[in-house]
Structure formats: C-alpha cells, structure tokens
Symmetry: C2
Subunit: 277 residues, 2 copies
Amino acid sequence: MQVVHTISALRELLQGQTSVGFVPTMGFLHQGHASLIRQARQDHQTVVLSIFVNPTQFGPSEDFASYPRDLEHDMQIAQEAGADLIFAPDVREMYPEGFATSIEVKGAALPLEGEKRPGHFSGVATVVLKLLNIVGAQSAYFGEKDFQQVAVIRQLVRDLNHPTRIVACPTLREESGLAMSSRNSYFTPEQKSRADVIYRALMASRAAFQQGERNAEAILEAGRVVLAREEELKLEYFTLVDAATLQQVEVLGERDHRLLVAARLFNVRLIDNMGLL
Amino acid sequence: MQVVHTISALRELLQGQTSVGFVPTMGFLHQGHASLIRQARQDHQTVVLSIFVNPTQFGPSEDFASYPRDLEHDMQIAQEAGADLIFAPDVREMYPEGFATSIEVKGAALPLEGEKRPGHFSGVATVVLKLLNIVGAQSAYFGEKDFQQVAVIRQLVRDLNHPTRIVACPTLREESGLAMSSRNSYFTPEQKSRADVIYRALMASRAAFQQGERNAEAILEAGRVVLAREEELKLEYFTLVDAATLQQVEVLGERDHRLLVAARLFNVRLIDNMGLL
C-alpha cells in the first residue's frame, strides 16, 4: 500500500486503471470505513482511500481544529481492509491560492443538517466533486450513517451527470448499537456507555411501525419517549422522511421512509438513522 | 455524422473511445464554430459537437426565446468541418424534474459580464460542467470571442480538478473585422455594416500600445474616440484587464493584458476582445 500527498502523484499511479473503487474519508478510520474498503476491494481491481479533513464543510463554531487525526493508525486499518493507495492531501493541495468555485445543492440538502449546519453540504459537495474528478473511479463508497450526505451526493452526481457510481453501505454499530463514528472518540467511556440511547430510540420507533402503526407522529413518539429519559441529551431533530427527497412524511405512503435523528450528548453531536423495515 | 438527443445514446456511442475532442455550442453555427471543430478534428479521433441553448445562462430580460436556431444548417456546417457526432438534447434532458445543483465561480467570473449579467456565469459553469461530464472528452474547444467565459471555464476546471483539457481558439472575424457571432444575425445589412466600429476601436487602442503608450487610460482613450463617433452605440464597458484574472489594469506590467469591450448597437449586444501584441 502506498501513501501519496499530491494530485499529480495520485494521477500518475492511477493512469490507465479502468477498475478503481474509491472510499473518500476524513480519516480516523474505524470498522465502518473498513467495511467500505472491503466492499470496494470486492468490486474493483484498485482501491483508493482518501483522507482529508475538509475545512469548508465545518462551520466556524464546529470541530475542524479538534477533529481527530491519526494517519499511522489509519494506514494500518486501510491496509488490513485491502486498500492499495491512500491519497492524503493537505489543505493547500486541495484549495490552492485563487480557488474560487463552490457547488450549491438544493433539494435533499435543504432540510435537517442543511438547516442546522449552513454551508455544510456546499462544502461536502465541492470537496466530493473534486475528489471524484481527481480519482476518476468507477465507483465511490459512502456510509449510510451519514444518510442525508449520501442523498446529497446522489443528487450532485445525478444533476451534474458525473460518471462515478455512488454506492451506499450499511452503518456499522458497536455492540451497544451506537453507530460507529470518528466523533465517538470525544466520549469518555462512561459517556459512551450512555450513547446507545439514540439507537434504542430508533429501534423503538421501528418497533411501533412493525407492530402496525402507520401514523408518522405516533411512530416518532415511541422513540421520543426513549430519548426523553436521557437528561444529558439535547435533541436537534428526530423525524421520519421520504428516503429519496428527505422531505418530512406525515402519513406513510408507498415510498421508502427513513427515521433520522441528530442530538448532542455531553456536547458531542451525534447523527443516526434507520429504515422502518 | 450522427445526431443524438439523449445522454444515454451519446454515452453508448462514445463507450471505449479514448481520443475525443468536444465543441460545446448554442448552435446557429458560423465559421468560428467550424474552426473549433476543425481544431478538434486535427487533435482527436472522434469529434463531438453539442448544440444546446441553455436557458439558465440567460437573464429574464435576455434573448433566450428569440436566440436563433437552425439545426439543419448546423448539421451541414458541422459535417463539412469534420464532426462525427452532434449531441442536441432538449431542456428536459439536461434539467430533469428535481434538478437542484448549481455552480458558483467567483474570481474571473465576478467583474464585467459577471456584473452586467448576474447569474450568467453560474448558468454557463453548470451547463459546461454537465456537458464535460456527459461527453468525457480529452479536450474541449472554446472560442476566444467569449474571452471572459474561457477564463471562467478554465477556473472552473482547475478548481474542480476536471480532467478535460480546455483549449481556446482565436476569434474569427468578418472581412470588416466584426467578430463572428450567432447574434450578428439580429442585424439588418445596413446595421451590420456599422458594427465593425468595435473592431476599429480595439485596433486603435492596440495601435496606441504598439506605438509605445504604456498608460492604460491613454490606451483606452484611443479606442473610446472611435466608439464615440457611432451615435447608435451604447457602451457597457471598454477596459484593459489582466488576461488571467480579468482584473482591471492601471499601469501595464509584465503580465498578459487584454482589451475587453461590451456594447449595444441598434439594441444588439456585442462583446469583443483583443490582445495588445
């Protein structure tokens, strides 16, 4: 496995490759990332992993500076999972002087995270489009934990007719049910032991659906009861949406639905989601 | 030569092609377009021409509805110049229901046309990026008549790391010096015979430079005198800029400079430009 830091070095190594799978990440890899790499490994001849903590998708009061970084450990996980190449550019390589282009995605990017984190998805869309162009992969792999992000990237790629295929892979969870996330490293062990409340709330809402409830408000109420029992939790949203448009659903119809939740627990911001089936 | 109207048909025909030159146009082709096709023909195995009058780059009071269209004549010019494939999508093919993505380019897109035509370059950048992604060409050819447009597209492609190479080709002119443009068809013959005033103004400013003048204001004054003699002309701007950044220049330095002009003559909007050397 090779690590490169410049676009030109990466392009040289990938020249002539016609079966490339690409896993874009912000590093501090966990088994969720490893599962993406393994899927790319299964589908393609060459697997590229990028590690780039993208400043433009963080708000001014967010955790860009403190976001966890550990390239040595990342290399180990990437190698074990089967990556061939790590692309780890610095900020200047991605945003050289004079950089002046940005992407706006409306539609799936507007509600929820779009409201809570203004500019976030513009930053995500811009860096993902750059990375897709740099790598020129046939497929790119994203974790479903960031459900709305996947919807936004699908919209971006569809709207701009980008040739890379977007593949969403299931969320990996700790034994407690807590969705794996680099940001879980912000928790003390005691705090982390209480973070499964989000998973339990999603499961409670799903159980309500599976027991026959079809009213969105009643399905959500089953989860809200669980969340209300954790006094350290500050809920940002807990909602049931159309899985493609991310628009809130009142009465369940024929289309695919998704529970989405965002909350702060001990001031760590967590997001998670779950289907109803 | 083949004409296709859908993205999927175009992609099928281009599958496996590794030497594609692409000429994006709004149709109503003239010899300026033909020169782009001939350059692409010289450089590549396959030449694709697109014809699409892009609604999102026209302002609400601009000439989208009346923009001249003539596919039959375009096919003849394209064939003679050596195009292999014409891609002529309709608006719904390019902007299907739910389309929600736009590109903002600052930098080279801000002054001049950016001020006179708000939203124009966002529309241009978005459609050009879509077309570059759809065709997947090695090179794309643009006319220098739209000098600022070429600068914006260069910035777009550089900022987003798009793999297509951007090639700018010299402006073709009528015998009178009038830059070839589909919009020249709006003129009556009498009006058209007076439209060379723009070319004569550019030449007068260039002559001032060539005679040793190095003060930007004095160079521009030489052209303004020419423009002032045409009473039907409403000048929008006549300026000397850095050819890369499009920023106005006061005193001529080491960098490449460009005269840029926009004006209405008999209510037809004309733009043109010229180097000093």
